[in-house]
Subunit: 408 residues, 2 copies
């Protein structure tokens, strides 16, 4: 296999006079940053784990390496105007070292820590008065027992670090179950925290971008529909919120971005409980609940992220349609017999308005393979279209009687 | 300089199960096809003249070669699901040879000839009843004299092949001037035609996409504002047209695409004369007057072109805003002292809604360096914003007293 620019960098990939952004990570978020970099005339150098990874497939300057290796990181950031990430897993000590060497890392480890350690995040958000569920550090079975009683057994136990998409989160249903789990995890060296399990009405996501100079622009708050801990759908803007509620959520995202010194895009995942909101998680990068911005907003989260980390002025976050719905395309248990192009064709034939985004990944159960965006004017109709399109891409069959209707 | 995949191809660039499109040509049209290919999950192999050309900068599978060399073409199209172009200059005999070898070339030479030879195009359009200016083949000074009299001296002389952006077009102001010019050009071996120089009110562009299977979708007709033979602005949809006029222009573009067997995107450039329309030129590829679709249409011309040449169903061409204006960024006589990033920053600071697209090219007078798209609701305001943004990107200064106002 011929790998372009392996371990060397490719100067021809970078337009004269325009900034180079080093992106650490090779997933779909880095891939979609490249889409926007092309149009901005900027360029990206990707530090990728493999030459056929989602982002490496589509970039002209790819370095194959390990993001936990300071040498590989140094090669990737050499000559870049800014360095950013498509995940939160680069060791902060490496980032501190790069910063000490004069590298422009955005967001900085001083902000990233709040997206990496859930206990540190909860404490800090509590300090700035952001609404958070009750929480506690869990360093022993006793801590767990005390907290269990405090919240009347409504406990959500979390690994402080490394969880994603429902991993690293547990809902023990008894005091004893909690104790056994805590003992096991602590013995495995997993740092833990617990928080009150809220009976939420739904999940929301408030996204915002902030520049190193301090400019901040939020997008409208969206509803995030989850299944098994994974976002399956985002509805923008979130239906059924009063102007006051919207404004409160947007202001919260702005104040979190400012208080934590976030640069680039920040996603503030929220629980809605009886019209009140509580912060669930933070992500300091483009986020699944922001994919709708590619079609539904003047400035997509990927363009905004690049502009923010370069300290350029931010773009308008106005919406382009009354509603935009994003539906994720996840690998099903069994790959459909119909080819992926065959599935795209069927979806487009039925829905010329469906915008299919695919990440260049092989099919695997549960894997995020792509998403579908649909802009529209009616929330339920737009949701139905996006969901039907995504379902067909996943399963190779419709979730309604469409084909039957057509055949009769 | 390290050139990725030079002369070899890069299999890692192509997602499993998804089509590969070979694009002959390395300009901004190929570059913007790559933007859409990334999101579709398809992939592009570019046959480029140089590794730092506009499209080669942003693609992971680049072959450096000469599009007039059949060997280079064969290497570029090897294994591709479809072959398309960002210009009309590939020799048709090479395309015929590739087709004979089983290569899927879209559009085909049988259609391309009408975009390559203005006389052949005029004759065919006349046959299908499309409105065209009066025209004649000019094979001698006598032919020219006869035509001069026929149109009362309102003559536009054109090279049958190879003209673009005002090149290869002449407006002689006397019978003698015409004769001298025709004699000179014929002696240089330039095949000529002449047509009536129309006193048009404005120029329009009717764009459409068609698949090999025959699906056709037009975009709304746009107004194309020209200066010195170069498109400087496009307003979508064209203001001040009745529904009947719009429909007529769209139907014309559809019928031209069908009659000529065009596949991919077709631009039908039109003259408007007292509410009537006449075909000026054809382009069988994405076109400058279609750049507005990146922000203003559900499906951009670049995505639609890829879908069309792959014979996939076409996407919705609905607009996303009441008006979208595209303004070209052309190199001025003198490059501004302010850096290109500095100019972007100033534009974005004033206009957060301005969408800047840059092509990765070095500054050169008259060169198409990029464009700005602005979506809005008021035509004049949106035009002003797009024009002001493009002007600043070209000149490094505002075309109004904005700075003065700010300073006072």
């Amino acid at each position: 296999m011929n790998t372009p620019a392996e371990n060397t960098g490719n100067p021809a990939a970078h337009a004269p006079g325009m900034p180079v952004i080093a992106v650490i990570g090779d997933g779909q978020l880095a891939r979609m940053m490249q889409t926007e970099a092309i149009e901005l005339g900027c360029s990206i150098r990707v530090l990728a784990g493999a030459p056929d990874s989602s982002a490496a497939q589509v970039c002209a300057d790819v370095l194959i390496g390990d993001y936990t290796d300071i040498g590989d990181l140094r090669r990737a950031v050499d000559g870049a105007d800014a360095v950013t990430f498509d995940h939160e897993h680069v060791p902060n000590e490496h980032l501190d070292a790069l910063i000490a060497e004069g590298v422009n890392v955005q967001p900085q480890p001083s902000a990233l820590i709040f997206a990496q350690d859930k206990l540190v995040m909860r404490k800090r958000l509590g300090e700035i008065g952001a609404p958070v569920p009750r929480f506690a550090a869990i360093d022993s079975v006793e801590d767990a027992a005390v907290f269990f009683d405090e919240v009347d057994g409504a406990v959500c136990l979390k690994a402080r670090r490394g969880g994603y998409d429902g991993n690293g989160v547990w809902f023990p249903d008894s005091r004893e179950g909690l104790g056994t789990l805590v003992e096991k995890l602590l013995s495995e060296g997993v740092p833990l925290m617990a928080e009150e399990k809220l009976s939420f009405t739904r999940e929301l996501s408030a996204m915002v971008a902030r520049t190193p100079s301090g400019e901040v622009r939020p997008w409208p708050v969206v509803e995030s529909v989850q299944s098994g801990g994974i976002c399956v759908e985002a509805i923008a803007p979130a239906p059924g919120m009063s102007d006051e509620q919207r404004e409160r959520a947007e202001k919260l995202s702005v104040s979190v971005a400012e208080a934590l010194g976030v640069t680039g895009v920040l996603a503030v995942e929220l629980f809605e409980v009886d019209g009140e909101i509580f912060v669930n998680e933070l992500a300091m990068r483009p986020h699944n609940t922001g994919h709708w911005t590619q079609e539904g907003s003047v400035t997509s989260q990927f363009e905004q992220h690049l502009r923010a980390v370069l300290d350029f002025p931010l773009g308008s976050t106005e919406t382009l349609a009354p509603v935009t719905v994003m539906a994720n395309v996840l690998g099903a248990d069994k790959e459909p017999e119909m080819s992926v192009t065959g599935r795209c064709v069927e979806v487009w034939r039925r829905f010329p308005e469906a915008k299919i985004h695919l990440y260049g990944k092989g099919y695997r159960p549960g894997r995020k393979l792509g998403h579908v965006n649909v802009v529209g004017s009616d929330v339920e109709q737009t949701r139905k279209t996006a969901a039907a399109a995504a379902h067909f891409l996943m399963h190779g069959e419709w979730d309604d009687n469409y084909l039957n209707k057509k055949e009769h």
